[in-house]
Symmetry: C2
Subunit: 333 residues, 2 copies
């Protein structure tokens, strides 16, 4: 069987069953945003890595090296944010075609550096090798969080509110626009979501310190797929109200102009890098106030329940089951 038949998530499940991590200090291996280790009685260490491959995760004709440097670190910082952590250091491995210009790499590293200094992350090393076909970027980030504050995907309880810390769908709409070579007045508004996502470290820390939330993840695969991860790890289901999902006016107008369904982008788009969490209903107001008073956003978008699966409640009250399997890089379409 080929990996394209089994699919990415099938393969990850297969690895997960194979590689049961051991060792007294390993608290969480595969199956959350970061691996979690005990570093002292109180403190936990987080370790995460992401590989980005040219023409799979980015295209050089749509993206300059400076934002690519920023984004390749940002997506890893977002994994640290998802567990409520503080990032500390990053290792950068690059597979680089021999004909790559040094100015390109300088600009990439300047981008990395700017993101690193915004979040006080130390760029502590890595590896640089030749790649015969296209650029490959692999970043590993190390962070920390106290055991009393860490948030996993697995803590949601039936009846919890589902919330987002920012708007979703625009990054995917930008890709759609580029793929269809469309002209659109607010293209620049959509592009910034795709090009320069801000990791929600600040939001993650506020949520973790408040100790009010029950589960958390970052939205990389799309709201439906990432809520699906929380639901499966927590053994709950969820109902999301479509009109409560926060979206940028530029996304709504794009969908209006080209006769597209905005909830497709909002639910299944991905690469949003906002946080998706759950919170007990009686703690939601306190959590909202903690976030809003710090200038951050809190959008309640639904509620978890005891049934499995993710459902969408549309404005007219109609409830439909939605696919939470997420975008699969391997699956044949």
């Amino acid at each position: 069987m080929k990996i394209s038949d089994s699919g990415e998530f099938g393969f990850i499940d297969r690895i997960r069953k194979k590689l049961i991590p051991h060792g007294v200090n390993v608290i969480k291996g595969i199956g959350d945003d970061c691996a979690v280790f005990r570093s002292s009685k109180e403190q936990l260490r987080l370790l995460t890595t992401d590989m980005l491959v040219e023409n799979v995760h980015f295209r050089l004709d749509w993206m300059n090296p400076h934002p690519m440097g920023r984004k390749s670190l940002a997506v890893n910082l977002s994994d640290i944010a998802a567990m409520g952590g503080r990032p500390s250091a990053a290792l950068i491995s690059l597979g680089v075609p021999a004909e790559t210009d040094l100015d390109f790499l300088d600009s990439f590293y300047d981008g990395l550096k700017s993101m690193a200094s915004e979040f006080d992350v130390s760029l502590a090393g890595g590896d640089t090798v030749r790649s015969p076909h296209g650029l490959v970027i692999c970043v590993a980030v190390d962070g920390e969080v106290s055991e009393s504050e860490i948030l996993y995907r697995s803590g949601a309880r039936p009846g919890d509110l589902v919330f987002l810390t920012g708007m979703v769908g625009s990054a995917a709409a930008f890709l759609d626009l580029e793929n269809h070579n469309r002209e659109y007045e607010w293209q620049a508004e959509l592009r910034k979501y795709h090009l320069d996502p801000r990791p929600h470290i600040k939001e993650g820390r506020i949520i973790a310190e408040s100790k009010l939330a029950s589960a958390m993840i970052d939205v990389s695969d799309g709201v439906a797929a990432d809520l699906g991860h929380i639901c499966r790890e927590s053994n709950v289901g969820a109902v999301v109200e479509s009109e409560k999902i926060p979206t940028d006016p530029a996304l709504l107008e794009y969908c209006h102009q080209f006769d597209l369904d905005e909830s497709e982008f909002a639910l299944h788009g991905g690469e949003d890098y906002v946080l998706l969490g759950t919170v007990a209903e009686d703690k939601a107001a306190s959590l909202e106030s903690a976030l809003v008073s710090a200038g951050c956003a809190f959008h309640a978008i639904g509620v978890t329940d005891m049934q499995g699966g993710i459902k969408l409640k549309s404005a007219d009250g109609r409830i439909t089951e939605i696919d939470s399997s997420g975008y699969d890089h391997f699956k044949r379409r």
Copy 2:
């Protein structure tokens, strides 16, 4: 300027100047085998990563997935060994072509697992993505060592003995044999060096615990290049005696049969993954005895001096300057 004009080491120097790591807990960033962080008053954490690209670092027609899984972890464990550390956990990122067979990946992960369990390393997660052109493997390993035991590249002093913990040259000779399609009776002996290098974690720990050595590195780029790293970081030079460099009889016989110079492989081959260190002359006997009594090897191959550069002393007493710039993946030949 292209990276192929600047070369790998030129580019690494460029990054090093750009990315001066900051943060109170960063003890060492770019410029040693691992990045080093303080984790407590006494304990340091080590973090290292290596990227392996198909047809640059490995060829699937020479290597089955099981040994490839073992080796992709082994090369990172070797970096932990080089600083005297104990490895604890690994993250595995794979860029996989969609047509890859799942049996291939199962076998790769079985190989990884076997190496991980030999060295008590927890496989704690990673990332799996699609790669349109060939397999890309990026492993990050985390380890620890106490501050009183850690060994850097920078501690060598003039007059120190230079030592190796194992034989060198055979891995490169196997590649040479394959590149020239040669038939050779002891091909299997050479192959095992290339296919299944053993990270010298045990040797590294004995050397670190003894507190006798002054500097250490693992031999990945070749004895000349890696001794060059120690010499540059320590501001010393070195004279290596060619007939003292330990080599496998299968390498000598290969060179004899095909009229090749074995010191080329021994000095410039690389991928040996033994440890190369320096030790004050009056402590060398104690270090040798600590290693040998534990069943490990100690080969004194030369001595450091105050002049820069690396020199080779041949059996007839002739001294020649040798190139310590190492194999450059980018440089045009």
